[in-house]
Subunit: 182 residues, 2 copies
């Protein structure tokens, strides 16, 4: 799908296409729709993050709480959303030792107990070692710092999801990337 | 090398073994030596980070400035330290397209111009996409925030270097990790 197509969508089509970008939270796409036409992915994503920033604290908490635990029960039960499955697999979170699963489950529980919402991280940005490091570092933060950090990670995740969904306009600026194994 | 061996080292042997943990900055090992015996890697690393935290701002800036640019001139000239070569390769920074090299060079220059020290990141904790994301995010921060963020990344890098240098004591807690491909 390209941006001209997105900008021609009516509200129902737009929410059908983008309602799942923010995990289990189609209200973000519903509110962002008013800001169209977007023109490019930057502005589409900015409209979505602005809708979240303008939402109430209760809505922000609900958004965070709509996310699954990292390598948690939903991952083991096979009830993750399609996007989450690919994301958790990208960092190797689908092939952990039992000791690693136990360590992450303990960290998830400790984080939720302290902050009241799940630990969220853009796993496509981190290695497994980096995720474990961030768990330890962020667990110790104040909850207000973590509310912002968790939302920032949601914004990073949703930007990646949009970039994978929407075709980039043709450009020569990226050079012969298609011929390189990067 | 194991921790009992480390704790038996005289000052010269200790600095020879650990002088390169903080990039081109053996003074960190020299000052940490006074805190021995350490007993474990946690306390060895804590003594080193405490030496940096207690150092002057000029020394902290010199430490940061002793680090190479990410995917920069030293990487291309083959004059990185041995540790840096492996680290930069781990995130795929040794196999970038020309466009990516140019984009990172521009980001390095912008970061140095704004903050006065190089952008440092524990590349073993991030994917290439994550590193580019962090570049954009951190470039916009205040310099005081970034001085702390850069030092935190140095502490993460040096912890990883210590963990790779020092044998872990035998334990059953990690389970049969050796038989798993993680």
């Amino acid at each position: 799908m390209d941006m001209p197509t997105v900008d021609r969508m009516d509200r129902n089509a737009f929410v059908a296409a983008f309602g799942a970008i923010f995990e289990h939270s189609p209200w973000v796409a519903e509110r962002a729709y008013a800001a169209r036409p977007f023109g490019d992915v930057d502005r589409l994503h900015a409209a979505m993050t602005a809708a979240v920033q303008a939402s109430s604290r209760a809505e922000q908490l609900a958004l965070l709480r709509a996310h699954p635990d990292l390598a948690g029960k939903e991952a083991q039960d096979g009830t993750l959303t399609e996007a989450s499955v690919g994301e958790q697999a990208s960092a190797g979170l689908d092939r952990l030792t039992k000791a690693e699963v136990a360590r992450i489950a303990e960290a998830n529980a400790a984080y939720r107990a302290r902050h009241g919402f799940p630990f969220i991280i853009a796993v496509r940005h981190y290695t497994k070692e980096g995720i474990l490091h961030e768990f330890a570092r962020r667990l110790a933060n104040d909850t207000e710092v973590e509310l912002r950090a968790d939302l920032e990670q949601v914004f990073a995740i949703t930007r990646i999801r949009l970039d994978r969904l929407i075709e980039k306009p043709a450009t020569n600026a990226d050079g012969p990337a298609a011929s390189r194994n990067v």
